[in-house]
Every structure is written in structure tokens, then in C-alpha cells.
């Protein structure tokens, strides 16, 4: 792909934006090395502090603009957790809210040109999904004991079908963290890569006559993709969060 691009004079490196690099120097990446992932996670934390701690420091009954946004986010996730898991699921609210905040801020910060989208990495989303999976499994067994296994035993189905369904349910249960993580990382990666590909076409006007048609088109496509990515950034955070709630519901009420 890179060589093809070079022959036309265009440079395609759509995946370079996802590279993890050390912040200082060019050495090897150890587990503790501060990298651009560290930087953008740190910025996400600062934004969360800015919105939810500094933004609400007035504790005003009539909220300021920033406080309204913080309250909106709180109400949005709180209602989601309560609607899906019920009242007893609210003890997971801080945990779910942490996931939501991290994902939504990472997704939006990733839309800044030159930024690293930390949630486009399977390493990050995989850990998030595994954390949810382990929470659901461990809490499900602690709360329900062996009854948690009823999750796989579909009582509403005819008896001969139940073992087959149980097999399917078990497989789907273990596939959950995979789909949960790849959905988020894949969405974030694909959109950004497409923008980058369109961006690579943009300088064509400097090289050949066909650029007169291609360059405006590619810029338009970048704008359109960017708008779509803004939508995707929120929707994927929402989807990840609501799926977390749905899985938590299984732990709280395992019987179908």
C-alpha cells in the first residue's frame, strides 16, 4: 500500500496515527514508559476533573453551563443504570460512570487532529471489556451462587432444546468480552483510518490536473467523515456503557 502510494507521489500511512511512541526520546517501550497513550489518558483525566470537579464546585441550585453538562452526564448514566439493572444495580453506578467517562472523553479527544485515540487500541478496550466480564462473572457467582448458571439454562424453551441452547448461551457468554471490545476499538479505528486515507488524497492538486476534482471531493469527504465520527464517538461510548448495564443485569437477575 505504501509503495503504491509512493509511485503516485501520494503518501498513505492511515495507521500511523495509532502508533504508540515514547513521549521522551526514542527508546524501547517498557510497561512504565510514559507514551503518547499516557499523555492522552492524562488529558482525558484532566478533562473529567475539569467537567465534574471544577465545573461543579459552585454547587449551585441554579447550575452554571458547565455544571449543567456535568449534571446531564450524571443523569444520563444514572438513569441508564437504573432503567436497565434496577435499583439494586445502582451500587455499580460509579464503576459504570467511570467507564462511560473514560470512553466518551477518549473518543472525543481522539477527534482532535494529531491526537492518539486510546480507545482505538484493542489493548485498552480489551481490558475494559475483560473488567466488565470478570465483574459480572464474579459478582454473579457471589450473589447468586450456583443459581447464576441458570443464566445458561433457558427455562422457557422445551426441555430437549435446553442443552443445545445452554451450549449456545455459554459460547455467547464467553464471546461477549471479545465483541464488546472489538466493537469499540474497531469503530474508532476504522473511522479515523478512513479520514486519514481521504486526507492523503487531498494534496493531489499539487501534483496532477486530476487533483482539481479529487482534492475538493476528498476534503468534503473528510468533513463528512468527521461529522460521522463525532456521532460514532458518542454512540460507541453509549453502546459500551449500556451493554455493560445489560451484562450487569444478568449478574443481578440471572434467570431469564
Amino acid at each position: 500500500m505504501a509503495t503504491e502510494g509512493q509511485s503516485e507521489g501520494l503518501v498513505f500511512h492511515p495507521m500511523d496515527q495509532f502508533k504508540i511512541q515514547p513521549l521522551f526520546g526514542d527508546g524501547p517501550i517498557h510497561w512504565y514508559t510514559p507514551t503518547n497513550a499516557t499523555l492522552w489518558m492524562g488529558i482525558a483525566i484532566l478533562c473529567i476533573i475539569g467537567l465534574f470537579v471544577i465545573g461543579t464546585r459552585g454547587r449551585a441550585t441554579i447550575p452554571s453551563r458547565i455544571q449543567s453538562i456535568a449534571e446531564l452526564g450524571y443523569g444520563f448514566v444514572h438513569k441508564m443504570v437504573e432503567d436497565v439493572t434496577g435499583k439494586e444495580g445502582l451500587k455499580f453506578f460509579p464503576y459504570v460512570f467511570t467507564l462511560f467517562c473514560f470512553i466518551v472523553f477518549s473518543n472525543f479527544l481522539g477527534l482532535i487532529p494529531g491526537a492518539l485515540t486510546t480507545t482505538s487500541h484493542i489493548a485498552v478496550t480489551g481490558i475494559l471489556a475483560m473488567a466488565v466480564f470478570l465483574t459480572v462473572t464474579i459478582f454473579g457467582f457471589i450473589k447468586n451462587g450456583a443459581h447464576f448458571l441458570e443464566l445458561f439454562w433457558v427455562k422457557s424453551a422445551p426441555l430437549p432444546l435446553r442443552p443445545v441452547l445452554a451450549l449456545i448461551e455459554v459460547i455467547s457468554y464467553f464471546v461477549r468480552p471479545v465483541s464488546h471490545s472489538i466493537r469499540l476499538a474497531g469503530n474508532m479505528m476504522a473511522g479515523h483510518a478512513v479520514i486519514k486515507v481521504f486526507a492523503a488524497f487531498a494534496p493531489l492538486i499539487l501534483m496532477s490536473g486530476i487533483g482539481i476534482a479529487v482534492t475538493p471531493l476528498s476534503i468534503l469527504a473528510i468533513v463528512a467523515m468527521y461529522a460521522l465520527e463525532i456521532l460514532v464517538a458518542f454512540i460507541q461510548a453509549y453502546v459500551f456503557t449500556i451493554l455493560t448495564c445489560v451484562y450487569l443485569k444478568d449478574a443481578l437477575h440471572p434467570s431469564h
Binding site: 500500500m1 473529567i48 461543579t56 454547587r59 450524571y74 485498552v124
Partner: protein, 191 residues
């Protein structure tokens, strides 16, 4: 022979090593950075740090605060609605009292008007009676005067008649004393 074989083997391994290196290089430059396992421990470590920090910030500071703000607001709204309802009830009561006062005032006014009318009527009656009495007195007096005048006039007529009779008798050459003439005239007047 054996030498060349080892050389060839060496060359093969060298080539294979280069290929692997090139492949690794290609994976780093053109492949998916997401699948570069070398960066996994680093990302996971920093992710866990970030998540723990966010969780602590949110659960210790932000969420209790926002929850408190929302609860306070809900309380304030409930209180305000209760206060508004109370005030509304008060307003209704005040309106009722106002209407009652209006009715009372109207009744009072009617009473005062009736009283005033009665008083005026009494005064009027008194004045009428007084005026009637005065008129009656005046009438009586007038009647007396008229009677007097009438009596006076009759006396005068008698006198004039007596004088005239005496004069007439005198003129006829008959000597008549005054007493007889007077008696005749009086008798005539009476009859």
C-alpha cells in the same frame, strides 16, 4: 562439501533472519499498531492507572457532589411547590374575606341609608305637624279677625242705618226721638 553445506545453511539462516527483521519492520511501519504486542503492557499499565484515578475522583468527589446538588434542587423544588400551594390557599382565603367584607359593607351601608331615611322622615313629620299647627293657629286667628271685622261692619251698618233713618225721618218733618228710631232700626235689622 561439508563446508559449503554449513555455509549455505548459514546463508539460509541469515536470509531468514533478514526476512524476519524486514517482516517485523513492515509490521511496525505498515501493519496495525493495535497488534504490536510490545506496547500492550505499557497501555494496560497506564489504562489501569487512569481508570483507578478516574474512579477515585468520581466516586469520592464528583458523584456525591452532583448527587447532593440534584437532591438539594429536588428538595428546593418540592418546598417551593408546597410554599406556592400554601400561598395560593392564602390568596383564596383573602379573596373570600374580601368578598365577605364587601358584602358586610354593603349591608352596613343599606342599614345606614335606611336609618337616615327614617330619621329624615321623622324630622319631616315633625316639621309637617308643626307647620300644620301653625297654619291652623293662623287660620283660627284669621277667622277671628274676619269675625271681628264682620261684627264691626254690622255695628257700623246699624249705626249708619240708625243715622240714616233719623235723618230720613227728620227730613220728612217728623220729630222722632232717637230712642224710638234706634229701636225700630234694630228691630228691622234683626227681622
Amino acid at each position: 562439501m561439508a563446508n559449503t553445506t554449513t555455509e549455505a545453511a548459514g546463508a539460509v539462516t541469515e536470509v531468514a533472519g533478514h526476512a524476519a527483521e524486514a517482516g517485523g519492520h513492515a509490521a511496525q511501519s505498515a501493519g496495525m499498531p493495535q497488534l504490536n504486542w510490545e506496547t500492550f503492557p505499557n497501555q494496560i499499565f497506564w489504562l489501569v492507572v487512569a481508570l483507578v484515578l478516574i474512579y477515585l475522583i468520581l466516586s469520592k468527589v464528583a458523584l456525591p457532589r452532583i448527587g447532593g446538588i440534584l437532591a438539594d434542587r429536588q428538595g428546593a423544588i418540592t418546598n417551593d411547590i408546597a410554599a406556592a400551594e400554601e400561598l395560593k390557599a392564602k390568596a383564596v382565603e383573602a379573596e373570600k374575606a374580601y368578598n365577605q367584607a364587601l358584602i358586610d359593607a354593603r349591608e352596613e351601608a343599606n342599614k345606614i341609608v335606611a336609618e337616615a331615611r327614617a330619621e329624615i322622615q321623622k324630622d319631616l313629620d315633625k316639621a309637617t305637624a308643626k307647620a300644620d299647627a301653625e297654619i291652623a293657629a293662623k287660620t283660627a286667628e284669621s277667622a277671628k279677625r274676619i269675625e271681628e271685622i264682620r261684627a264691626g261692619a254690622a255695628k257700623n251698618v246699624e249705626e249708619v242705618a240708625r243715622d240714616a233713618a233719623a235723618a230720613i225721618v227728620d227730613t220728612m218733618g217728623v220729630k222722632a226721638d232717637a230712642k224710638t228710631v234706634a229701636g225700630a232700626v234694630t228691630a228691622r235689622l234683626k227681622g
